[in-house]
Amino acid sequence: MSSYKRRLFILATSPTQCRPTSKINKIQHAFWRSVPILLKTLLKLRPSVYDSLDSVKETSTASNMVQWTDFERATIQSVFEKMDYDDVGPAALSRCLVVYPWTQRYFGNFGNLYNAAAIQGNPMVAAHGKTVLHGLDRAVKNMDDIKATYAELSVLHSEKLRVDPDNFRLLADCLTIVVAARMGAAFTADVQGAFQKFLAVVVSSLGKQYH
């Protein structure tokens, strides 16, 4: 690596240390900093293989929206209205941490997660379970544009929390099991279908902003 590029590397990894000194160096520095930005812009502008497909040209954004039947809408509203968020949230999250133990990687600072009893009794897990479920509420209230509703949360989960999006699917499965246990026979096959479709849309939306 040239000495200039070496300095740029150090600058990128520890910004407070190396700074360009002379005027020539400042110009060189600005040039090299702009190269990755230029490359990214050029890559975005390149024609995509999908642009030439007729089907893609003709679809409008409206028809990309998820279609909900009246039964599905009514079912989702009813299931969440009857749900005790403060019971179901902690139950679903603690179940997920027990059934899929690798999900514990995101909760290193939650204290004692050594066994199922500890997880189910852990107050931080319970609090976080409630947070997650109240977050689901936003989708329940905005079923016609869940993707936009969760755009910010998706960025949070990808950029800051760095959660593998497969975990959303695992938590969704645990939530289905917990809701089934609470609702009993009322959780019919049709209700299960609507509930799982809803969660699939939520999971997909949370994964949309990952890149």
């Binding site: 059934v99 289905t176 089934a180 009993g184 026979a185 959780f187 299960q192 279908g193």
Partner: protein, 143 residues
């Protein structure tokens, strides 16, 4: 993710509790599979009635649960115990193995509905691992 001694003990204990309702579990799980995952109906075009709880669905649910009971009895060597069933699924039925996961999920949902107190997280993880092992054993002879 193989079955530990603790898992095997838990599966046997839990199965002893639920075996009495095996046919109901099988019927409900299969019904849910056909409704919630309609692509699975392609395997049953020879049945007159695919609606939840119909006669062919109930009968076949019972058959499937018989296979699961056999797997519980052979829990120390599931592949050996399910050899005949594996050959059946590989050479005759040719069910895509992705569907084993779907049916397993629905069995867990039905267990949660019928046994809300017994199906705690420890039982859930043991049954999930066990059903995954059964799915693997059934896919053994596929290729």
């Amino acid at each position: 993710m193989s079955l530990t001694a603790k898992d095997k003990k838990m599966v046997k204990a839990f199965w002893a509790k639920v075996a009495g309702k095996a046919e109901d579990i099988g019927c409900d799980a299969l019904s849910r599979t056909l409704v919630v995952y309609p692509q699975t109906k392609t395997y049953f075009s020879h049945w007159k009635d695919l609606s939840p709880g119909s006669a062919p669905v109930r009968k076949h649910g019972g058959t499937i649960m018989g296979g699961i009971s056999l797997a519980v009895a052979s829990i120390d060597d599931i592949s050996a115990g399910l050899l005949a069933l594996s050959e059946l699924h590989a050479f005759k039925l040719r069910v895509d193995p992705a569907n084993f996961k779907i049916l397993s999920h629905n069995i867990l949902v039905v267990l949660a509905i019928l046994f809300p107190n017994d199906f705690n997280p420890e039982a859930h993880v043991a049954m999930d691992k066990f059903l995954a092992a059964v799915g693997r054993a059934l896919s053994e002879k596929y290729r």
